[in-house]
Amino acid sequence: MSLTDRLLGDRQRLAYIASQAADSRLNVELETEGMTLNIGPQHPATHGTLRIIARLDGEQVVWAEPSCGYMHRGYEKLAEVRTYPQVTSLVNRIDWLGSFANEVPFILAAEKLMGVEAPARSQHIRTILFELSRIANVSLFLGDLGVQMGAITPVFFAFRDREYVLNLIEGATGGRFHPNFDRIGGLKDDLPKGWIAETKAVMKKLRKFCDQIDDLLFGNEIFQARMRGIGVIPRDVALQYGLSGANLRASGVDWDLRRDQSLPMAWNKADWKVWTHPDGDSYARCWVRLQETRESTKIVDQLLDTIPSGPIMAKVPKIIKVPEGEAWVSTENPLGEMGYYVVSRGELGPFRVKIRSASFNNMSVAPWALRGVYVPDIVTILASLYFILGDIDR
């Protein structure tokens, strides 16, 4: 056999094998084997220590499972041995980027059981601080989003502008991350002098930051290619997994707990809009969050103009005993629906506290959402679902 014949023969044979493989979608010679990929616990895309075990077939995920528990602190058990005022310093640490927002539903639940309502002034200031913690939280998310896709610039903007907001929170409460400022019946303190004017200036900066992120990320072609049509979660799936917050609104459900339930807070005293998106993909989730940050700055601006005068604490006894009963209060936190089911037995501390955190439910959809995606999309889908590890593990 001549050299040409042998080459031709090989080529024909290879062409035959290739055509057969293409027809029957079988790899005859290059049979692939499944592989298990471990992401985390220490990984930049995990916002803490979430470990993801993914079973791959080539580049595709066959099966993925988040493994939680690297930061379980047992707050539900700890809350049972603490007094009501002491619990706020615990729940502060659940979602550590928006700490003040964690305190509010617990305090509201305790106030509901006691039949106390905070004075109008403290309701107003609570709402302002709540929205500031949302802005601080989500602005970091928007910056971090770029890093997940290799864009380094937005994160510097985010850290710079979040610092302004943290300074405001520190100015009013004394703590940058863990204010522990909410009290049953009101707030610890009134606002300091000059805080209102300073906050208005910062809200202008934050709106500019949102515009910058809009230009840098959301208008970016690479960003859109990585996010559009990726990780689509339909409305029905989102509801039955209990997704909440921007993740639910990005799937087309028009539901915001700030608007759709009556709480003794001041959201209904401002004019703002609930944004939804029909697509349900990664892009929609991030886009809704961006719009929400803009709305939050508007809420803060309007509420700053209308703070009523009066006391900041209702009359409550110094030793707080909460009457017997059960109460459920949830609020629209930066990450989604955060609620506390508080059972009281008329003692100094709660009998049982069930903490319903948003990220736990938001993350439980991950095995569903990650099935069949490509490996680089794991990172973007997780980033767009937006979880904080402390909020999953509690």
Partner: protein, 226 residues
């Protein structure tokens, strides 16, 4: 309730309760009673606040499925359990050098009643009307098994895993009851009331100081009891 000015004398805790009617929840309760029939064991309504139901243990899954399909409760909020037995260790503030005081550990259920020590409760919400209900179910103490809800609400999967490891309640038909947080060889169920909080057993808790009245605080004990 209006905010009290500092010079007002009345105690907010003793003001006369307003009569509130909650048409939405009352009509919802009537619809639920009609839909569930015998499966509903008890209900409790707090006007303008919340609605509690208790269903019979053997009708747990079918009741939840009926509520989802006929009354539109499509949003799964959470699932967890309560151990109604008061802790024999109190709040873990006993002096370890003294003998342990005897405590009343009589089981007393909450809203919508119940007959067992353990109760599982789930909260589901109608995403159109935004009204939610909390549904409780008794779990047999000797054989804590309940039907799994994971094929009614897919989100119940993780919540049942968490409830299983924290309370030791088994969910029949659950695909994967591995521990969520704790190591697989962990012994005991931490959120049961008879599981001691070991940190408090080893060292007395200094936080007890916080709940004592401050000297010169001007609040006497009789006012606090009100």
């Amino acid at each position: 309730m209006p905010a009290l000015l500092p010079n007002e004398k009345e105690n907010p805790l003793s003001s006369a309760p307003e009569v509130i009617t909650d048409v939405a929840r009352e009509s919802l309760l009537a619809e639920i009673t009609a839909a569930l029939g015998d499966r509903l064991a008890a209900s409790h309504l707090r006007p303008a606040d919340d609605l509690w139901l208790r269903v019979h243990t053997d009708a747990w899954k079918s009741s939840i499925r009926t509520l989802r399909d006929t009354l539109g409760f499509h949003y799964f909020c959470f699932l967890s359990a309560i151990d109604w037995m008061p802790s024999p260790f109190g709040r873990g503030e006993d002096d370890p050098t003294e003998p342990t005081p005897v405590r009343d550990t009589t089981i007393r259920s909450g809203y919508a009643g119940g007959a067992t020590r353990m109760q599982v409760f789930v909260r589901i919400v109608n995403p159109v009307t935004h009204i939610g209900v909390t549904i409780k179910v008794d779990v047999d103490d000797a054989k804590p098994v309940l039907e799994s809800l994971h094929d009614v609400y897919a989100g119940a999967n993780w919540h049942e895993r968490e409830t299983h490891e924290m309370f030791g309640i088994n969910f029949d038909g659950h695909p994967d009851l591995r521990n969520m947080y704790l190591p697989m060889d962990f012994e005991g169920h931490p959120l049961r009331k008879d599981f001691p909080l070991l940190a408090r057993m080893i060292k007395p808790w200094p936080g007890i100081v916080d709940v004592e009245p401050l000297p010169g605080g001007g609040v006497d004990e009789s006012a606090d009891e009100a």
